[in-house]
Amino acid sequence: MATSTGVDNRKLFMWLFLASECLFFGSLIAAYLLYRGQHGVPCMDGDLSTCVFPTDRTINGVEYEGIFDIPFTSVSAFVLLMSSVSMVLALAAIQRGNVRAMRIWLFTTAALGALFVGGQAFEFTEFYREGLTLETNLFGTTFYVLTGFHGAHVTIGVLVLFSLLIWSSRGKIQAKDSLNIELAGLYWHFVDIVWIVIFTLIYLIQP
């Protein structure tokens, strides 16, 4: 599709969208880093002097520093990285005209993504059992909002991949339609790189 920019409009839109997503996740990560380690108490009637942010790291009296399960999250990070590899293989397959291989790799990517989301649901459940909820403190609020939005992005990606699978099963995706897979791949890889940043800044570099 010829355009005045010389690039496909759909691809241009996807990159613009991803650039805006950088700002979105950048804001959430900045908020998390600002508030982590702080046990905030809500302000009373807008009186700032009542906003107390002591630096203790407790959740209902329990230290939260050890709440992250690094081995478990490392496996989750590995799963998401491998899903990016299978996405690359899906795109390579359709560009060669091999629809069957593309379906296999798309399914693999979607399954790995679903596994990642399942792991996150398990992690959230464990944290809730420990007493860390959205309302517990500022750490809980910013942590759940950041990782929850990332999980929502992965979930949307999984739904898109399954939609593509259904579409291809009806014969609507051939080699000439490889841009559809490429766009889904760009979104999927972006979700992966956001997790690369979250995994390092939130899980490995703790206060």
Binding site: A19, C22, L33, D192, I193, L204
Partner: protein, 78 residues
């Protein structure tokens, strides 16, 4: 390659390194993984420069927000 870098990151987490060394190494390895995925998996290395400009613009703005927010409120990265 990406899996190996992730394994190294996790190994570093468990090593008894100084905080500055740990943070420096983890940030460097994370940036390397980020660059590998963006340049090769997302084809930014081979694609139209307009896409690179857009994406790098987004990242620069995001880092700008990040820096302003942290410095305004007195937050710290580590």
């Amino acid at each position: 390659m990406l899996a190996i870098i992730t394994a190294v990151e996790v190994a570093l987490y468990y090593l008894d390194l100084s905080r500055n060394a740990l943070v420096g190494l983890l940030l460097a390895l994370s940036a390397l993984k980020f660059a590998l995925v963006v340049l090769w998996f997302m084809h930014l290395r081979f694609d139209n420069r307009l896409f690179s400009t857009l994406f790098v613009g987004g990242i620069v703005l995001a880092i700008g927000i990040f820096t302003v927010a942290l410095s305004t409120v007195g937050g710290k990265l580590v």
